[in-house]
């Protein structure tokens, strides 16, 4: 089943889905598994598996350090794909590859698509790959039946939203604010207005991310967005509170 129908199906029983995030190999693949187990238990619907990159220029400090530490401990792209395979087989949520374009570019776009697909991934998020640079990758993805996730942002003009909307598939990642991952966003009318603006240009489901860290944030989005994307907040909790902390976090978040 493709990403979009998966989302549609899940949304029949929930008013908003949750997408979570782990950085592959940080703190370790074992801990990643524990985190994912907790996320699955809590009913998380989608997970981004970030492939660590040496130049994570769109990430905030916590993820930057996670990328760095993961690479330092020897994480390879092969390991990430194997992990993806394991995870997508074991858990009910759907898995997306998240990372930087160079990871895909270096192995070749065709190989990249094939490997995501083979590992059970339903799509990928490459924040430094603009649509101007991705027609071929999108074509290959479509052939393979996986989805390239398009990002829409507060600085995107209507004209450009139309362009982005035209090629968006699976889901759209609405970036709630300027900046990098990790800092808090005030979830309010601005964000909802942005989601509405984006909806004018596409029918695919809307995920909202960047700075979501509480049930209150999700409540704001409920009825407006389809998916709440939780990134840094979860990693922070894991680092500070371990398994029980994370369990409580997701329990509260998704209550």
């Amino acid at each position: 089943m493709g990403l979009q129908s998966f989302i549609a199906e899940r949304k029949q029983s929930k008013d908003i889905l949750v997408m979570a995030h782990v950085v592959c190999g940080y703190p370790s693949f074992e801990e990643n598994l524990q985190e994912l187990e907790i996320m699955a238990e809590a009913g998380v619907d989608l997970v981004e598996l970030q492939f660590p990159f040496s130049e994570p220029s769109a990430d905030g400090p916590l993820f930057v350090r996670a990328n760095e530490q993961s690479l330092k401990s020897g994480t390879t792209v092969d390991q990430c794909f194997e992990f993806m395979k394991l995870v997508s087989a074991r858990f009910p949520f759907k898995v997306l590859m998240m990372g930087y374009y160079n990871t895909a570019f270096k192995m070749g776009e065709a190989a990249f698509v094939k490997r995501v697909k083979d590992a059970g991934g339903v799509g990928y998020i490459l924040p430094d790959l603009p649509i101007e640079e991705s027609p071929e990758l999108h074509r290959l993805s479509e052939e393979a039946g996986i989805e390239p996730i398009i990002l829409m942002t507060p600085t995107t003009s209507d004209k450009r939203l139309a362009k982005l909307g035209a090629v968006s598939r699976g889901l759209v990642y609405v970036v709630a604010r300027k900046g990098v991952t990790g800092s808090k966003t005030k979830m309010g009318d601005d964000v909802l207005a942005l989601v509405e603006r984006c909806r004018q240009h596409t029918d695919v489901p809307m995920g909202v991310g960047f700075g979501i860290s509480s049930k209150a944030d999700i409540d704001v989005l409920r009825g407006h967005a389809d998916i709440a994307i939780v990134g840094t907040a979860a990693l922070k909790i894991w680092e500070e509170g371990g398994a029980s902390g994370l369990r409580n976090f997701f329990a509260e978040l998704m209550a």
């Binding site: 660590p52 990159f53 040496s54 130049e55 994570p56 220029s57 769109a58 990430d59 905030g60 400090p61 930057v64 350090r65 760095e68 690479l71 390879t76 792209v77 930087y100 374009y101 160079n102 990871t103 570019f105 270096k106 192995m107 924040p127 430094d128 790959l129 603009p130 101007e132 640079e133 398009i150 990002l151 829409m152 942002t153 507060p154 600085t155 995107t156 003009s157 450009r160 982005l164 970036v175 300027k178 900046g179 990098v180």
Partner: protein, 419 residues
């Protein structure tokens, strides 16, 4: 040949290199920048204003110096040097920075950010910001902050905030990443003054355009002073801005050979260098907003790089050079740390010039090749900066015992004051 005529290829691409690989959130910002740059480039008044700003503030045109002693000593080609070390703040970096300052004014932005490695670009940017009245933040790898304190001292005294970047290798490339992070947050009122001809379009073109003033001057000066064009032109290549600057003066002169000299560090096979094109260790990739040759592993993660010259110690090379290298239009060589030290000593003693360690890389290659050339041949070296502000690095590189004991004494004095 106009490498910046994109009418037959993709805008911002040089062969297969270049492009814009930025987060969607910067799309509008980079478009706005591109548009503003196109306006400036099309407006002869802008260039006039730029030239007169550099004349009145930075001392352009910088002269060409004939190195009679060194030429005689080497017994081959006549060596001329373009003296961009005489610029205000001590390097060619000021050219680009002043140009972007004017552009930033047009953009109506009040803040500037910049990455810096050796500190020269940061120093130039802080200077420009003081002159233009911009708020200024300089991102600099924590390792560089520690080893380039003199430049940090000046930047701070010029009113800039210097932020030590603690991520990654804590050097130049990490400072670039941190600039990107600042920019995606503050682009509304902030312009990113990229320091070399790298990064997403239009930076390679824009920085090259501002630096082309070097080559414009140099070509005219060579004709006037030497009576003809040089046979070869040498420049060091970090990101490639000073080299692009001087090479552009001779791009259409088929008989002028263009040679870029990269940081050979510990030499070929050492994997401790920053030669993207002269050695075979780099491959094509996409990072920091553009596609070019990077020193990276098979999975696309960047390798550690090294050069005695902090300003050459960088993973990527400007995409224009990647293309010109493919085309055979520019030849690339590397100069090792050891060769650089020897060439620096030679240049100081025979000519009274102190090229920056970066620029000395160009001297190394020129000094190797001059003796193989005829006495009637002419070579031109771009001295992109002066070395006297890098005293710590050079004293370290030359392992100067008296310097070390002076620093020990100074430290004792300071500790004494605190008691």
């Amino acid at each position: 040949m106009d490498i910046f005529d994109f009418s037959e290829g993709r805008e911002g691409y040089y062969g297969e290199y270049g492009g814009v690989f930025l987060p969607e959130i910067l799309h509008a910002t980079i478009e706005e920048l591109l548009e503003c740059f196109r306006e400036c480039k099309a407006d002869p008044k802008f260039w006039q204003e730029y030239v007169s700003l550099l004349q009145n503030y930075s001392g352009r045109p910088t002269p060409i110096t004939h190195l009679e002693n060194l030429s005689r000593k080497l017994g081959g080609a006549q060596i001329y040097v373009k003296r961009d070390d005489l610029n205000h703040t001590g390097s060619h970096k000021i050219n680009n920075v002043m140009g972007q300052g004017l552009l930033c004014q047009r953009l109506g932005k009040s803040k500037v950010i910049a990455e810096t490695g050796a500190g020269q670009h940061g120093f130039a940017t802080a200077t420009m910001a003081a002159k233009f009245g911009f708020e200024c933040k300089i991102y600099m790898g924590a390792v560089d902050v520690a080893r380039q304190r003199p430049n940090v001292f000046w930047m701070e005294n010029l009113g800039a905030e210097v932020i030590a970047v603690e991520d990654g290798q804590k050097t130049l490339k990490d400072a670039v990443n941190e600039c990107m992070r600042d920019w995606v947050t503050n682009m509304a009122d902030t312009h990113y003054i990229l320091g070399t001809a790298c990064g997403p379009h239009p930076f390679p073109e824009m920085v090259s355009w501002f630096q082309s003033i070097i080559g414009l001057e140099a070509r005219e000066q060579m004709l006037k002073q030497a009576g003809r064009l040089p046979d070869r032109v040498y420049a060091c290549v970090g990101g490639g801005s000073n080299a692009m600057g001087i090479f552009q003066g001779f791009m259409n002169d088929d008989n002028v050979e263009l040679i870029g000299s990269e940081g050979g560090g510990h030499g070929v096979g050492s994997y401790m260098h920053s030669s993207r094109l002269a050695y075979d260790d780099a491959s094509v990739g996409v990072a920091q907003g553009y596609k070019t040759y990077f020193l990276q592993n098979d999975e696309g993660n960047m390798n550690e790089t090294h050069s005695v010259a902090a300003g050459l110690d960088y993973i990527g090379v400007n995409p224009i050079f990647a293309h010109l290298h493919d085309q055979g239009k520019v030849r690339f060589e590397a100069a090792t740390d050891i060769e650089v030290k020897e060439a620096l000593k030679l240049t100081m003693r025979t000519e009274g010039l102190i090229p920056a360690l970066e620029s000395t890389h160009a001297f190394v290659t020129a000094i190797k090749e001059a003796p193989t050339m005829g006495k009637d041949q002419i070579i031109l070296i771009n001295q992109s900066g002066r070395g006297d502000k890098d005293i710590f690095t050079i004293a370290d590189a030359l392992d100067d015992a008296k310097w070390k004991s002076f620093i020990g004494g100074k430290a004792d004095q300071y500790r004494g004051e605190n008691n």
